[in-house]
């Protein structure tokens, strides 16, 4: 772990892995809930870093934080959020080919994984979900689409995401959900926030990959 002072009142903590990053983020939320870090206005996890903004004495916190004992991330007790999905995305065949399986099997692999929101960004309500096993990383599309519809379930790199509203995007579209990812009139506005556990549930059991034999392909 390495902590770098950013400007006058912020601190960027760099970590060795996504798992360590999620663990530090959880630790920071625990400490804030317990009344510490009272001046901190933002705690922003990302791929390999956590940014803290509004830190009174960033240099002092930088020297303290690297000595913290951080509880490793463990499966949390609260149930996962189920997001219904139809695996009907236009890039599903291409993703399946990259994985070396049929589209039906690709849908089953995706629906069988347990996801966690590692961090948010790009647009309000857009979460970067980790949980696909190693080896399932896929590249972004060579040419991004100018308009990806709201509710598109997509994969890129090690991440899965759901587009909260119509926007340009370069991720591979594998499905569609009717879940509303972002509604500023709802409390909370964002369906997904860092740390949320997520499962994708095939919406139509007839069409879902359920009947396909398990254990085929992989990788």
């Amino acid at each position: 772990m390495r902590a770098v002072v950013v400007g006058e009142r912020a601190l960027l903590v760099e970590l060795g892995s996504g798992g360590e990053t999620e663990a530090l983020h959880a630790e920071l939320l625990r400490r804030r809930a317990a009344g510490a870090l009272s001046s901190v206005t933002e705690i922003v996890p990302a791929a390999r870093t956590v940014l803290l903004d509004g830190v009174e004495e960033p240099a002092r916190l930088a020297s303290l934080i690297t000595g913290w004992e951080i509880e490793p991330l463990h499966a949390r007790v609260e149930p996962a959020l189920d997001i219904p999905v139809r695996y009907d995305g236009p890039d599903l065949p291409e993703v399946a080919a990259l994985w070396g399986v049929s589209p039906e099997e690709a849908a089953e692999i995706h629906a069988g994984a347990e996801f966690r929101v590692a961090f948010c960004g790009f647009a309000p309500g857009f979460g970067y979900l980790t949980g696909l096993p190693a080896g399932y990383e896929v590249p972004r599309r060579a040419t991004p689409r100018t308009a990806v519809p709201a509710g598109a379930v997509a994969v890129a790199g090690p991440y899965t995401g759901v587009y909260p509203r119509t926007s340009p995007g370069g991720w591979q579209l594998i499905g569609t959900t009717d879940a509303v990812l972002w509604d500023p009139r709802r409390e909370p506005a964002a369906l997904l926030s860092p740390g949320t556990r997520v499962r994708f549930v095939p919406q139509d059991p007839q069409e879902a990959a359920r009947d396909v034999p398990r254990g085929v392909g992989g990788r």
Binding site: V5, L12, T49, P184, S193
Partner: protein, 287 residues
């Protein structure tokens, strides 16, 4: 019953509703937003007896015109400009009484870029996540004004209109931005860091509420790899592949994948909001 609202007669190039923004939601990908020149918007509010965080109009370059449906005290501040009520000259930087149905004309900025129009009671557009600010990056908050838009006003403030002797910071002839190097200064060559801290840049016309773009010597990277996206702060000086520094302003994205060479002090950013394209920019390293 008094209709506490105003209609937009001339929206101008870009006029938005702004208050202090919506900090605290960056982890959800929500920019902070808010008035780019928070000192000017707070002063304008003070002149009409509003709390400093009341919502105001922020104009860009060529002002705007509005027709209040009720008599209301207004104040125009920030970038200096001509102010007229039904065609008659009125004071800039001071409380002005606008009769019901009269047109308040906020003229083109004489210096600087952004004028602020405070109304007694504040602009009562619908709040989103605790703020009435228009966020141009993610589209939150009220839409930018259009001709014919009608916006409500809040109840008359209890406080009296403030002093008319408030000091207005002048638009900068040369924009001096004090900046602390890092967190990714080690991604640039020593020569690039020398250029960054010693050479003059110019404000690019492509600047907006998201960032102040600059033109000048490109900064050469020492590390050519890709940086995983990381959290971004207000004032971050991000360097995209073209090597020209971009200073992040209120509507900046909450995460980004280009290295941040330095972070500008927050109190210097109000001047950045008023720097017209072509203005000389100097980055002064501070600790």
């Amino acid at each position: 019953m008094t209709d506490r609202a105003f209609a937009v007669v001339r929206a101008g190039a870009l006029t938005t509703v702004q208050d202090r923004g919506r900090p605290g939601h960056a982890h959800l990908g929500v920019p902070r937003s808010g008035a780019l020149d928070p000192y000017a918007s707070a002063l304008a509010n003070r002149l009409v007896g509003n709390p400093a965080d009341a919502a105001v109009l922020e104009t860009t370059v060529d002002g705007c015109a509005v027709r209040p449906r009720c008599a209301v005290t207004v104040a125009v501040g920030g970038a200096p400009c001509a102010v007229r009520v039904d065609g008659r000259p009125a004071a800039w930087g001071a409380p002005v009484r606008v009769p019901a149905g009269a047109v308040l004309e906020v003229g083109r900025a004489v210096r600087g870029l952004r004028s602020y129009v405070a109304f007694a009671g504040g602009v009562a557009a619908e709040a989103v996540l605790g703020s009435r600010s228009t966020d141009l990056l993610s589209g939150l908050g009220p839409a930018p004004l259009r001709d014919g838009t009608v916006l409500p006003l809040g109840p008359r403030p209890a406080g009296a209109a403030g002093s008319d002797a408030v000091p207005w910071p002048a638009a900068p002839g040369e924009l001096v931005l004090r900046a602390r190097l890092g967190p990714r200064d080690d991604w640039f060559t020593a020569a690039a860091l020398r250029l960054f801290t010693t050479r003059a840049y110019r404000v690019s016309p492509a600047s907006n509420r998201i960032g102040l773009r600059t033109e000048g010597p490109p900064l050469e990277r020492a590390v050519t790899g890709e940086l995983p996206s990381e959290g971004m702060v207000l004032g971050a000086v991000q360097v995209p592949p073209d090597g020209r520094p971009v200073v992040f302003l209120a509507d900046h994205p909450t995460t980004g994948g280009y290295p941040v060479v330095a972070v500008v002090r927050e109190r210097d950013l109000a001047a950045a909001a008023q720097a017209v394209p072509g203005t000389t920019v100097r980055f002064i390293p501070v600790r």
